[in-house]
Symmetry: none
Subunit: 200 residues, 4 copies
DNA sequence: GATGAATGAGTGTTCATTCAT
DNA sequence: CATGAATGAACACTCATTCAT
């Protein structure tokens, strides 16, 4: 008997990621995904219950790759600002290497497949980062506002910038990323005059 | 594709807006839209060339309602900060009144139907607002950064906050909106110590 | 706008009757039925919710044709034995004219689609005939036994005989039918010696 | 298609019997049968050439169990009427013990898988019983009619009664079975007035 | 012999679109 | 202009069968 092949599982996730970001959810058929993954349509259903389950699995895989990238930079020995800067840099680097990751994440999370359950799962996986922010608030470094606001100004802009969609391009070179992060930091930091050099 | 009955045209746009935000693009069939709008599927094709054209028309309608809301607050006689604050407040008000507007905008703009052409059209419609920002940069009020960055920190967060999606709710009362706007302003403003009271 | 076409509805029922009796339920695809009926697969779904509903509708149509044939012979002015004889003759005639009718009836009624609800419906349609039998029992003409037994000996044998399946052929000519009916009558009749000539 | 493990062979037949009577032929997949039998789909093909062969084998197994039950009661030392009565009683007992047997028999024999070849095989297996009837005809006990008619009134009603399908239940207790058999006997017997007490 | 992953043709069903009325 | 019946290609999914292990 053949063993279940992890290569096939990954090939299906990768094919889904590619095709959905190229053509969109509705234009991507199960048959196309199977062909691109090099398996037959029937095989797809050994690894995934149905098309919806495949999309969700792909989303979870994408989320984990992004979240692992971010969490890999959380290091309690560094000051908060430096931790966050490294998270930013790491995410821009992964966006350069695999532009589809953020694209798929955004497509899925704005689709009708997105659920609160999935949102909560990701939030829990991000707990170390969110805890670092909470600690920053307790230390008076971060504005004492709700998590929704911190997310909106710290993380959301990343999604906008890495897709650099449309008319106003953003070139993610080292200097640009530093400037972008400085703006994020200004938004969330409880500032003292001395810190103003962040924009110098 | 003559347009005789404007009621029917609007009913179709409204039905599309409702159904797509409820069920998603792929789960929304032309027949469902027609039924919700109170017309027959055949009639739909008198007003719209095909399903794609209907989705794009709905998107343009949604964009115009949001853009008009924003532009309605641009008033050269006010200082830039106040203009932007009014834009923020107006957008939150419209989000409360018609939550589907932002939801549809985000769903569509992250879908495969979004094109650079559409993005550019919206940018041109937003010209007065973008021009006000450019003037602010010339006056040394706004950080001298590219438009992508200003968008990312001034407008993107609004989309995040009005959907208040998921675990971290954002209650858009007057105080919360002011605080949120203060963060946006801190992100983009070229600050002097005196302005620090924005977070007080 | 086109009107719903009763010819199409009937053509679908007839095509189903033909194909199922020729090939069986599982070997008969929806596409085959549609082609035989001269419509497209999609059209089938305008007239029937799904394949199951089409099969049930065909069954009901078949039942009604058989039941109407039988009930057409019920005439209170005739003695019971003559009424039943006419029912028998009429059913054999319809079996000769449309052999598929009994074949489909039996195939369906022994399949997993058969339900008590359908059985009850047919029983209610047959009420006049069953009532005549009950009256016969009150008059001492028919053995005072349950309906299941009367059915088993009066009607079930018809199904067996009209299909004349297999090795022991039954030629439904006038004399044979009369003999067969005599046997059915002997089974259910509360007999007196005088009636013995029924087998003469 | 070697047979090594007779347990597996029997488990497959039993699983087929159960699933087909529960769900019908088309709803019963090879994978379901294998799972119910506790083997893998591949193993099934060691014991049976394909699905059709499995169904036919199950049918033959069911036929043999029913035919053996009937033939076990044929005893030339008894008068014909008593022989037939014992056949009836035995078949009702097996129907009570294994209701699926008659159900499967009827489902299969009304399906498109039924062939004249199978019918003939069963007929040959039933030869002793049919021969007893022929002998009865020669002795003037049984009406001198074709085998089709004798089958229709002697055996067909059993199938109807043991399934007791639908609205008119038949309780197969000893008295009811005797009454039912009396009706069958009346149908086929060449009667003399003296025998009338059968309905007393 | 036994397994179950793999296959791909085939299924029932949907749906954007057309067109006779 | 308006209708909704009709279409048929395309879809997601199943399943009898094979075969590498």
């Amino acid at each position: 008997m053949r063993q279940r092949d992890d290569n096939k599982r990954l090939a299906l996730l990768e094919a889904t990621l590619e095709l959905v970001t190229e053509q969109g959810f509705s234009a991507t058929s199960v048959a196309m995904i199977a062909r691109r993954a090099g398996v037959s349509p029937g095989t797809l259903y050994i690894y995934h219950e149905d098309k919806d389950a495949l999309l969700v699995s792909t989303f979870l895989d994408v989320c984990d790759r992004l979240i692992d990238t971010a969490l890999g930079q959380v290091d309690e020995h560094l000051v908060l600002r430096e931790q966050l800067r490294r998270v930013w840099v790491a995410l821009f680097e992964v966006a350069l290497a695999s532009p589809r990751l953020f694209r798929f994440y955004d497509m899925f999370s704005h689709s009708a497949w997105m659920t609160d359950e999935l949102r909560e799962r990701n939030d829990q996986r991000l707990a170390p980062l969110l805890e670092a922010l909470a600690e920053g608030q307790r230390q008076g470094l971060i504005k004492p506002v709700g998590l929704a606001l911190l997310e909106a100004f710290l993380f959301r802009p990343i999604h906008h910038l890495v897709q650099s969609s449309g008319c106003h391009p953003f070139e993610p070179d080292s200097a640009s990323i530093d400037m972008a992060f400085a703006m994020a930091w200004d938004a969330v930091a409880l500032k003292h005059c001395a810190s103003q050099e962040s924009v110098s």
